[in-house]
Symmetry: C2
Subunit: 339 residues, 2 copies
């Protein structure tokens, strides 16, 4: 029920995702009166979906703490409960981010060794794709949080992006060791000295995100959220300027017509819907947050992100890796302090 | 002497700037042996320039504290000293940012009522231009710092951007009052309750920068630096994708040829050199930092930024405004605590 054009976007999004999915089934939590007529319009979705009715909805305005206290029978909470009970392999929601994180944390708990879950996303770069975390779950982070994000991001890049030895960078205001706040400096020292088989690159700056300097970009949720949205806004501004230029004269309009297939490829590459689906990492259950303002295509992508996390066994890999972190603790007092 | 292609870029930059400047004179601080032959190549610059020789240079690697202690006879320090003595109306440097800020703060001091200077820059938006500060002078900021940045930014937008009643926004991870860290929440409360004639919009998010939602974007130096560089990196990535698309087929190459004048206009609009010249606000003297990697065109822009700040009487206006802040203190205990 979350998102600007739910539940239609959700049902249509499943329909789009189905062309790339085999054997999936869906539990749809929400208002049966609204969902059933939609399923009649999408018979492929109807065939593999089960409605779990509730008319309680967590609104976008609701404070996470209030949603957590009063939202027991809400569609959001019921969907998360289904993951805990093992009825669903993961949950995808386009609703209130703060409420989703608060409920998911409360119901699913974090994986062993992880103090706080983080929100992660893919990012297009000149070298392919990177993953960046945290994007807003943790407004203030200490060095230990950042180190845990680094380890989770590394596991993600190996298991979901399929990289053999992903490189990790911490976002900072300069590449030199003496720059930045206490948290990033301490986290860098820990990652430099750790025995964990992690390829720590060091500090990266904002322009390294698009350049693809590293595979995993680690940052606190305040900075990460602002960096992600600044990138989105810059892409939109760039697109706006380009459109203005290409419609400014007769010859540029003809030129744009001739280059249309290429420009469409370009548009597809920078389409934010392709990167829709923020992943909650570190929870004992798969949870993906779709942008509330997206459409069916964007929502289908969020579904596919969740499916990928499930089929690639991400959480099992994180558990496995953090159990090694645990055994390192005994050997390495430095790592003990940090992890 | 600072920057990747100094001193040639500096001399050529002056030559470019001269076409938009009347009656300006330049003091050039640095190695006479390198500068004199350059002046012979740029006779227009030679006619209005005076070399002040030194062979001491602050390197990019130097720690600000070391530069401050040992760099007394350096070209950077001598240039700043010239501003303090009234021999120069402002200083422009493409050298070590941290050293420049440390020296400028030490030599010029801050304006009355300002605890910490901030680095500001113009930003292209869908609605024209905005100004954003701080971009890296202050890694950790409290609410008072942010409020002072807001007041300085407002004065800048009125006096240099020429806006009648500029709107001010604080960069945050959400528009709602309950989001964000302590500093941004407190600063917002102060700006909402102040008697100062400031048009405070409230919180803005990263994508509001490119959208031009507000005229002045206030943030701490850590976040601001990362947001600025993320925007630069995204613009570069976007340009890279566009170029790949437009050279991908024969028809797209012909299309790009037909649209070339429009694409050139577009390129010019997003050319980072047009926005080169970071302004140090809050100092008792004009100081502009050019990007070290820029070329003569970019450097000429940094010169013109400094000239604009001087001719628009920015510092006099900041002094005037902060004297009002002072008188507010007596009336308003809330403002006293803050300012």
């Amino acid at each position: 029920m979350g998102g600007d054009s739910a539940p239609e976007m959700v049902v249509e999004g499943i329909d789009i995702a189905l062309s790339r999915l085999q054997g999936a089934e869906f539990l749809l939590f929400g208002d049966e009166g609204q969902i059933r007529p939609l399923l009649d319009r999408y018979p492929r979705v109807k065939a593999i979906s089960h409605i779990r009715h509730t008319d309680i909805v967590v609104t976008d305005q609701e404070k996470p703490s209030v949603a957590l206290r009063t939202g027991r029978g809400s569609s959001m909470r019921m969907a998360i409960d289904a993951v805990r009970k093992g009825e669903a392999a993961g949950v995808v929601s386009a609703g209130n981010t703060g409420a989703l994180m608060a409920m998911a944390k409360f119901v699913l708990k974090t994986l062993p060794g992880i103090a706080r879950p983080a929100i992660a996303t893919y990012f297009p770069t000149m070298r392919g794709e990177s993953v960046m975390l945290d994007l807003g779950a943790n407004i203030e982070c200490d060095a230990d949080n950042l180190v845990q994000f680094a380890v989770m991001g590394e596991v993600f890049a190996r298991n979901v992006l399929g990289l053999t030895q992903p490189s990790i960078g911490i976002l900072n205001v300069g590449a030199e060791g003496l720059k930045g706040n206490v948290a990033v400096k301490e986290a860098a020292t820990i990652l430099q000295e750790t025995d964990l088989p992690i390829k720590f690159y060091g500090f990266v700056e904002g322009d390294d995100i698009g350049a693809g300097t590293v595979d995993v970009i680690v940052t606190d949720g305040f900075t990460g959220n602002i960096a992600l949205k600044t990138a989105e806004g810059t892409a939109r501004l760039f697109g706006h300027f380009l459109k203005e230029a290409l419609t400014s004269s007769a010859s540029s309009r003809i030129g744009a017509l001739l280059a249309r297939p290429a420009l469409n490829t370009f548009r597809m590459r920078v389409d934010p819907r392709r990167y829709n689906g923020a992943m909650f990492l570190g929870l004992n259950g798969i949870c993906v947050k779709s942008h509330g303002g997206t459409d069916a295509l964007g929502f289908s992508n969020a579904i596919l992100v969740a499916v990928e996390m499930i089929t690639d066994g991400l959480n099992e890999a994180i558990k496995e890796d953090f159990s090694h972190v645990g055994s390192h603790r005994r050997d390495d007092p430095e790592a003990t302090a940090a992890l």
